[in-house]
Symmetry: C2
Subunit: 229 residues, 2 copies
Amino acid sequence: MEDKRPQFVSKRTLREQLADVLREKILRAEFVPGEKINEKEIAEMYQVSRGPVREALRQIEEEGLVTYTSQKGCVVKVLTYEEMSELYLIRSTLEELAVKIFDGKMSREGLYKLQSAVDDIERSAEKKDLYEIIAADERFHSAIVEEAGCERLYHMWKSLQGANTATYHTMKSQGLMPYDVLGRNHQWILDFFKRQADVDTITKEISDHYAVVPKTLHQATRQNESAEE
Amino acid sequence: MEDKRPQFVSKRTLREQLADVLREKILRAEFVPGEKINEKEIAEMYQVSRGPVREALRQIEEEGLVTYTSQKGCVVKVLTYEEMSELYLIRSTLEELAVKIFDGKMSREGLYKLQSAVDDIERSAEKKDLYEIIAADERFHSAIVEEAGCERLYHMWKSLQGANTATYHTMKSQGLMPYDVLGRNHQWILDFFKRQADVDTITKEISDHYAVVPKTLHQATRQNESAEE
DNA sequence: TAAATGTCAAATGTTAACATTTTTGCGTTG
DNA sequence: CAACGCAAAAATGTTAACATTTGACATTTA
């Protein structure tokens, strides 16, 4: 049964809207990792009751953004460098699986989305606008995963986006953001799709693309250790 | 109001307990795919209010067991054969990643868990006790994934358990359960771990192990199609 | 007769108050 | 002055009632 209601009438539940707002706040680093989230505070801020707030927080918990502890409440998820590295390994694996599913052959629209995302990455990297970079980066990689047309795979991949955001924020705070090579690195991958390279070549490139992150984080670890001495 | 709940003191929240109960009901096929789940009914059945019930249902939604639709409510997840096949591909990929992470070298305890699970599979397959088979099968595969020691990977893998259960139930209802080879097939994989085969060999075996499922499901599809004619 | 409309019960969404647990803060004590 | 105890405050867990939406069935109308 199709919903023929005019699109401008918004019937989204409070829970859905709150999930969006809270997600964005975390992705924008207005809530920082480890920060406690007070249900009542959020409820009063948006003039709603605690019910929808609790449900929204449970939802973004599933997305890997916050952690609920029984009787203790909700905090913005804290990731160690090691966990970030592991999550990139999973993300890379899922993305490679997507490429295998569509056999490395992107549709015309897919290629267009990728090029558009690369351009956005380039532009926002010049402005050093982290939020825009993260959004464009997500558009790039999600275009790849979506091409596989497997909803569950996309959902799982997306559930790692919180970790990706946290990693970007960490890199920035450590002065490790490679602004100058971001556009180039993504264009590099896109070009393999454009020239219809075979699956193994492309998955290898994606694997290498992500493998840089743990190395960069490791660099951060060493810097912190030497700073403590 | 007097609390008439069981005498033993349980510190677990109602939400947690309800999630367990509802999960089990679905895994035992007391709730079948497509069945509507009525919040009030569940609440009255367990003498609690709808709040914890809603939260529990949201949790098992995340686990891939039910689907919530705005203003429509909650139904037990329905999977097409195609979706089941895709989910097995993802499950297989994640399990192979786990093996790569621990380089195919299982600990003594890991091997023990695997052997114990295989024995359970054998026993319950003889009795054709589907619920026990599913539980033992999960113990087997989760022992592999847990060995990687990556919590998030385990969590993602586990979120596909609902699909696994649904597939087993589907196979049973179609008379396609291969009771006689279940134990042998799992012992086969375990033996590769025991003789410390290299990673590529093991991941290949796991891949093959799971690849059988889509083929069996495809068989079911053809049977249904010819039955309709 | 069939489509459109109206009505109503039941289901979900939301709220506000109550219950229980955890944390806070402060005064006493050794 | 540190440590302990304990009461008050605050946070989370839970409940029950209220609000809105949905779906089914009855009624009207072409």
